[in-house]
């Protein structure tokens, strides 16, 4: 109890509480600890992120930029790039529409089974892509009823482009919805209800109130979705059939080139894929910088 009473005979205790050196606030750490932690994080970042990325580019350019560009002229590389872009061109817009619809239903309405729907949307995050791919093979493979019908009608799903698009869509499904739900929930329905009371039709309310409110989050979700769609390997590998020049996407082609002792071609394609990813990342950072506040709600959920 004595300690609680400050002795006027010992004024130094007022100026120097505990053993904390002067001039340092309670929220900061000793210099050596700060430097160690920063160095540790930087070292980890370098080893885990920058070095591998640099290695990819270095490998691609090991025989000069000429042979790197030449390797991209390979018809197989061409068709792989084209297939990847086609896949993203189908999967991303469709997932944007589905994601928007799902987020709209979940955020603006109360209904039975809502929690179940949210779980369902998250499913692709928790299911391994390989399992997802195998599911499509089981469902649409030649030995299933549906798959047999499609094959008989000349529209093979598995081991053809539709299967690749489907598998990609499955894996990238949650990205847009997951981005939109927290924002839409936070915004509530007041503005939409106001628009309706002012006489706007449902479609007009959606166009003029709902969509503008979520547009940056939507774009953000689309970018994430796109990055994953172009890079997906596991699920696509299972449903692709690996027909060269036909059902081989960029990630699959990279593996094939590597296995065929064509490191320049493999790493050039890998560098291109990484560049596509970096462009997406840059766009995402730009969005965060421009519209940080609006995206904060979503970011808190990640």
């Amino acid at each position: 109890m004595v300690d609680l009473v400050l002795s006027p005979a010992d004024p130094s205790r007022l100026a120097k509480p505990a053993r904390r050196p002067a001039g340092r606030s309670v929220t900061s750490e000793p210099v050596w600890l700060r430097i160690t932690l920063i160095c540790l994080s930087l070292a980890l970042l370098t080893v885990l992120l920058f070095a591998p990325l640099l290695a990819v580019f270095a490998q691609a350019l090991q025989e000069g930029i000429g042979s790197a560009l030449e390797s991209l002229a390979d018809p197989d590389a061409h068709s792989a790039i084209r297939l990847t872009l086609i896949t993203a061109a189908f999967a991303v817009p469709l997932n944007a529409v589905f994601g928007l619809a799902a987020a709209w239903a979940i955020a603006k309405f109360d209904f039975r089974g809502k929690a179940f729907l949210i779980t369902l949307i998250d499913l692709p995050f928790s299911v391994s892509p390989v399992v997802a791919g195998l599911c499509f093979v089981l469902l649409f493979g030649a030995n299933s009823g549906i798959g047999g019908w499609f094959v008989a009608n000349g529209i093979p799903i598995v081991f053809a482009v539709p299967g690749i698009v489907l598998a990609t869509m499955f894996v990238t499904f949650p990205f847009v919805a997951r981005e939109l739900i927290p924002i839409m929930e936070e915004q509530g329905r007041a503005e939409e209800e106001a628009a309706l009371t002012l006489g706007a039709s449902g479609w007009r309310m959606f166009r003029t109130v709902t969509l503008p409110n979520v547009r940056w989050a939507l774009l953000y979700g689309v970018l994430l979705c796109n990055a994953r769609a172009m890079g997906e390997f596991g699920a696509v590998a299972v449903v692709s059939g690996r027909i060269r020049g036909e059902t081989t996407t960029m990630p699959l082609m990279i593996e094939m080139f590597y296995n065929e002792y064509m490191p320049v071609a493999a790493f050039t394609l890998a560098a291109l894929l990484a560049l596509l990813g970096l462009v997406t990342l840059a766009a995402k950072s730009l969005l965060e910088w421009r519209h940080g506040g609006e995206l904060a709600a979503a970011a808190r959920r990640h």
Partner: protein
């Protein structure tokens, strides 16, 4: 969807354009307000303007986006090769990992041969992966016209599970439908630092052996069976001693890759292990592609005659022209020209009349057992590699 505004509210609002307005008061009651042009208050006007401005921006944007996306998709779609439309001379050859280079060269030669016979330019597509995985894909509906797999048992699996290949497929082409053969050799690092000469050396204390997983890789089954054949001879058929040897062998394997090519990469590019059990052709290729003088090929005292087999998938032939092309694609593999290509790619061929003698000299005669000496695939496959089979037993006993 039970908490939305009453549907008739906006229906009515629409009917009279923007003249009718419903307003909720704080008690939840709905008030209908009819507003005429000149009675618009300044607040209402502002709000209307806001809506209109937003409306002016967004739909135009959305439309532009949609149009852009549509054009992009159509454009991309147009450039997509008509893969689904099968030309008469289109063939899909579903093969296993180590034959990539062989079929790249053969497809070119075959295209010229097929054209010389007075046909159009054939479009030959190839697919490579582990032999077992490829068989699985064909069973699941991969539209292969010909399969060129590592093991007869993989072709058997397609035949029995789908009926797309006749049961007697192996008698349809010469030499048990194996146009080229290979064997299993050791690839060691230059100078053979661990002094590996035969199967017995693989279980020395400090030796790490690289081989793929016999469950998924055809090549790995040949590796396994070659080791088994040697142990069988070495230990005079004593089953316990053979099993002990096999168990010791797999205890020396640090990584079980899924395919032959993956194992080669592990050994040659990632530098893991002291000895790679590999197809002879794969060992030569690794040496050629990854640096002459970095590796040495060691031939054990006894190995196995590995017979990769080929078959037409009759159930996947969509026209007579395709049938003719598929048949010729496989029978021409036995021609002296094609056999020379096989030898050039380090396969052992039956007819070396047109092959470069230097290539032939690389493949000296060896003491080889055949799969039939071990009882044939129909017996070996379930006994050794089936679920709970001998491989599972020795590998789990680890």
């Amino acid at each position: 969807m039970d908490r939305m505004l009453p549907g008739d509210a906006h229906a009515a609002a629409d009917a009279t354009a923007d003249r009718t307005v419903y307003v909720f008061d704080m008690y939840g009651a709905v008030h209908q307000m009819v507003v005429s042009d000149d009675s618009d208050g300044p607040r209402a006007e502002r709000r209307e303007e806001g809506l209109r401005e937003a409306a002016r921006l967004t739909p135009a944007l959305v439309r532009r986006w949609l149009a852009g996306a549509a054009i992009a998709v159509i454009g991309l779609g147009l450039t997509l090769e008509p893969g689904a439309v099968l030309a008469a001379d289109t063939l899909l050859n579903v093969s296993y990992d180590p034959t990539r280079e062989l079929y790249k060269e053969y497809d070119k030669a075959f295209a010229e041969h097929w054209e010389a016979l007075g046909h159009g330019v054939p479009k030959i597509k190839t697919s490579h992966a582990g032999s077992g995985a490829q068989a699985r894909s064909v069973i699941d509906g991969l539209d292969a016209q010909v399969v060129t797999l590592a093991l007869a048992s993989d072709v058997d699996a397609i035949a029995s599970k789908t009926g797309k290949i006749p049961e007697d497929w192996q008698s349809k082409l010469p030499h048990n439908s194996a146009p080229y053969t290979s064997t299993i050799v050791f690839l060691v690092r230059s100078g053979n630092p661990k002094g590996i000469a035969d199967w017995g050396d693989l279980v020395k204390d400090d030796v790490q052996v690289i081989t793929p997983n016999p469950k998924t890789s055809g090549g790995a089954r040949w590796n396994y069976l070659a080791a088994w054949a040697w142990a069988d001879k070495q230990y005079g058929g004593n089953p316990d001693e053979i099993r002990t040897y096999m168990h010791d062998l797999f205890a020396h394997v640090p990584v079980l890759d899924t395919g032959a090519r993956g194992a080669t990469t592990t050994f040659a590019q990632r530098g893991i292990g002291d000895v790679l059990l590999a197809w002879e052709n794969e060992a030569f290729l690794a040496e050629k592609e990854l640096g002459q003088g970095e590796f040495e090929i060691i031939r054990p005292s006894l190995s196995i005659l590995a017979e990769p087999t080929v078959a037409v998938v009759e159930g996947n032939l969509h026209s007579d022209a395709q049938k003719a092309a598929a048949g010729e694609y496989l029978s021409w593999l036995y021609s002296p020209e094609a056999q020379a290509i096989a030898v050039k790619n380090f396969y052992r061929a039956w007819d070396t009349s047109k092959a470069d003698p230097a290539d032939v000299a690389l493949l000296p005669a060896l003491d080889l057992v055949t799969i039939d000496d071990l009882g044939g695939w129909k017996k070996v496959q379930p006994e050794h590699f089936g679920d709970g089979g001998i491989f599972d037993q020795i590998y789990q006993a680890k």
